[in-house]
Amino acid sequence: MKRYLALTRGNFQVWLAYRFGFFFTIIGNVIYLGVAYYLWSSIYQHANVIHGMTFNETFIYIALGSAIFILLKTYADWIIGNEIREGIIAVYLTKPLDFQLYALFSSLGGILMNLAAISIPTILILTLVFKIQVTMGLGLILFPFSLMLAFLISFCFDYFVGLSAFYTESIWGISITKEIIITVFSGALLPLQFFPDAVQKILLALPFQAIYHTPLMMVTRPNQGWETFGPMLAVQAFWVLALFILTRLFYNQAIKILRISGG
C-alpha cells in the first residue's frame, strides 16, 4: 500500500508546480458557470419547472458538474496510451506492481491537487458569487462517497481506452469518442430528466450515469432517505466492480500480445 501512496505523493508535487495552470482553469470554470447561468435562465423563461426540476436545482446540478468535472478527469488514457506507444510499458512489467493499481494511484495525486486548487475554489465562487444555497440532507453526506465511486468508474473507462493503444495507434479517436459518450450520456451537460422517457430508461441502465448523474442528484435533491440513495450507491458499486473485472480481463488479453510479439 505504501508503495502506491508514494506514487500519489510524487505526482501531487509535480502538479503543485503548475500553479499558473490552476488560475486559468478556475477562470475557465467561472466563465463556464456564467455561460451556464445565462443559458439556463433563458431556458427557464418558458416555465418554472421543467421535467420536475426548478431553475435552482438545474443550475446547482450543472454548476456542480463543472466543479467535479476536473476531479473525474484522469488522463489515464493518454498517459497509458503514450507509455504503450513508446514501449515504456515494458519497464512496469518488471516492477513488483500491479499495473492497474499503479495507474490508479498515479492519477490520484493529480486529483487531490485539482480538488484543492480548482474544485473547492469553484464551489466557493458558486456559494459566494452566485449565492447558491444547498439544503442539508443525507444526500450531501453521501456525496463524497458517491464521488469516489464515480471516480473509479471514470478511471476504468480511461484505463480501458489507454489499453486500447495495444491494438491501435489512434488513441485520439477512441479517447474523444469515449469522452463524448460519457459527457453526453452521463448527464454531465444535461440532466437526464431532460431526455425523452424511452432514452432516459436506457441511459439509467448504463454505467455512464453513475459518473455524473448519481452524485449530482445527491446534491441537487439531498433531502431523501436511504431508500433512494441506497440503491443509487449500490448501482455505482456494481459498476465499479463490473468494470474493474472487465478491464482486468482486457489487460490480460492485451498483455499477452505484448509478451508474444515483443511489443
Binding site: 482553469t25 456564467g34 421543467i50 469518442t177
Partner: protein, 265 residues
C-alpha cells in the same frame, strides 16, 4: 522572397506529400474521423434534446440553432485543418526544436503551419456544409448570388477570428513555461460560439463581442442570413473583425519569434 502564388503552390506540394504519407495509416484516419464526427455533433445533440422541452431559446428556434451551429462548424474547420501544428508549439519552444524554422527563406508562420494538415477536420467541415444546406432548406432561406458571396465572406472572416484566438493563445508559449492552460481556456471558449449571444448581457456579452469575440465566429454573421431585418450595425463589422484580429495575432507571433533565443548558449 516568395510571392503569394508561390506560397500557395509550395503549400499544395508539401501538403500533397504529407497527406500521401498519412494515408498509409488507414485505421487511424478512419477512427479519428469517426471520433471527430461524434465530437463535432455533441453540443448540437444536446441542443436537439433540449428543444424537446422548450419551444425556443431566447427567441431562436431549433432550425435556426442548427444553422448557426453549422455555420460554426464550417467556420472553425480552417483552424482545425490548417493550423493544427500550433498545438505543438509549446513543446517545440521548450525543447529548442523550434529553431529549425528560422533557417529557411520562408515566412515562419507559413513554414510552421505547413508541417501539419489535419485530415480528420475535413469530417467536421463536410458535416457542417450538409447541416447548413439542410437548415437553409428547412428555413426556406433563399440564396441569391449576392447572398452566397456574403456567406463566403462572413465564413472567411469567422474562420480568421477563430484562428486568431487560438494561435494567439499558443503564442503564450514564447513567454510562459506552462502555456497549456491559456490554450486550454481559448479552446474551451470556442464551445460557446454557437450559443445565441442574446442570452448574454452585461460583462459577458461585452467580452464575447469585443474582447474574445467568439460571437463573430458564428452568431453575429448568421444573423445576416437568419434575421436580416434585426441586425445591429455590429454585424457589418464581421469581415474586418477577422482581418483585424489576425493582424493582432500575427503581431503577437512576430514578437514571440523575435524574442525566442532557443535553449543553451
Amino acid at each position: 522572397m516568395h510571392s503569394m502564388g508561390e506560397y500557395l503552390r509550395l503549400y499544395f506540394i508539401i501538403e500533397a506529400q504529407y497527406i500521401k504519407a498519412r494515408m498509409q495509416y488507414r485505421a487511424d484516419f478512419i477512427i479519428s474521423s469517426i471520433g471527430m464526427f461524434f465530437s463535432s455533433l455533441a453540443t448540437l445533440a444536446i441542443f436537439w434534446v433540449l428543444f424537446d422541452s422548450i419551444p425556443d431559446l431566447a427567441g431562436w428556434t431549433l432550425m435556426e440553432m442548427v444553422f448557426i451551429y453549422a455555420f460554426y462548424m464550417i467556420a472553425i474547420s480552417p483552424m482545425q485543418i490548417l493550423f493544427d501544428h500550433f498545438w505543438q508549439l509549446r513543446f517545440h519552444v521548450a525543447e529548442g526544436t523550434f529553431l529549425k524554422y528560422y533557417f529557411r527563406p520562408l515566412n515562419m508562420m507559413f513554414y510552421y503551419m505547413s508541417e501539419m494538415f489535419d485530415l480528420k477536420g475535413l469530417t467536421q467541415f463536410f458535416v457542417g456544409i450538409i447541416l447548413l444546406i439542410y437548415a437553409s432548406v428547412q428555413l426556406n432561406l433563399d440564396w441569391s448570388l449576392l447572398r452566397l458571396g456574403l456567406l463566403l465572406i462572413t465564413l472567411f472572416s469567422a474562420a480568421l477570428v477563430q484562428i486568431s484566438i487560438i494561435v494567439a493563445a499558443t503564442c503564450a508559449a514564447f513567454w510562459v513555461i506552462n502555456a497549456w492552460p491559456v490554450l486550454g481556456l481559448a479552446w474551451k471558449l470556442r464551445e460557446f460560439s454557437p450559443y445565441p449571444m442574446s442570452i448574454f448581457d452585461g460583462a459577458f456579452r461585452f467580452v464575447f463581442t469585443f474582447v474574445i469575440p467568439i460571437g463573430f465566429v458564428a452568431f453575429y454573421p448568421s444573423q445576416l442570413f437568419l434575421r436580416p431585418e434585426e441586425i445591429s450595425p455590429l454585424i457589418y463589422f464581421s469581415p474586418i473583425i477577422g482581418i483585424g484580429m489576425f493582424a493582432v495575432t500575427y503581431w503577437i507571433w512576430t514578437k514571440g519569434v523575435n524574442s525566442y533565443t532557443g535553449t543553451g548558449s
